[in-house]
Symmetry: D2
């Protein structure tokens, strides 16, 4: 993983952890379910943005090097699986 991708990913992870801590407080304080659900969706979106960052790092680095280095089959199989997981 490139250094800037790792640094940016850890920053996003800290934000997600803080957001989850807030959701814990909401549930413990018995706040309205609908408000809690809006926050859990916001966390899922934040995780999707983290994934987009990680994937862009992967595409620009491992994918290009892997295909140029003759490991097409592995690289393509992984991308196919990631795509399938993204859609589910």
């Amino acid at each position: 993983m490139q250094n800037d991708v790792r640094a940016e990913s850890l920053k996003r992870l800290s934000y997600i952890e803080g957001h989850l801590a807030g959701i814990r407080r909401m549930i413990e304080a018995d706040q309205y379910c609908v408000d809690v659900l809006k926050q859990t969706r916001a966390v899922r979106r934040a995780i999707e943005k983290l994934e987009a960052k990680l994937l862009d790092g992967h595409l620009g680095d491992c994918v290009v090097q892997g295909i140029q280095g003759g490991r097409e089959a592995q690289i393509i199989g992984e991308l196919s699986e990631l795509y399938r997981l993204a859609n589910r």
Copy 2:
């Protein structure tokens, strides 16, 4: 929120927090992006299950009482928004 829904939700939240701590260690240890991405997807699925639990609590409790108590417009508007958010 009913007590059992709150207890179950906090339990699921602890699991999600532990899973995220594991992802942090993976990124810090510079593990393969594809493996990290599989774990972030697993966390998103765990959050979706937490949401299903919270929503079931909401449906069986606030929704029925709200509609029987004459607050249809508010309850229906909230459910419509939640479904739209679920689908993004």
Copy 3:
């Protein structure tokens, strides 16, 4: 189903059918996969909008009447299932 929801749904369905016919022509003409994939995603979004329309009709009509008429268990069970399907 209320008449206006049915009319609006059939209109959206015609749009989706036309869009799919365009995708068929793109595949038959061997157009670039990436362009075809962008169109299939647009169709999925159009179906999600049709679903939002159908669900709003259901919420404002069957759900309120069902709960006021004492069929909470059935109505709530169906909403829970629809939500789970929306989230996959």
Copy 4:
């Protein structure tokens, strides 16, 4: 697009078109919204499977050739956009 991917894609498209025609009949016959919604979700899943087929064809063909042919930037940019669209 390889011939087998095109043939398989057109077959899946015919299935989707037939499924949508069935949904049209359900709406025209005023069937229960919840039943219609289950069918629209099934169509969305069928479109996702068509997309997985198209993407696998793209990965194994254009992506490998494009990267080996020096067009990394274009290929990687397209994959990044497709993943983002998949996740919405």
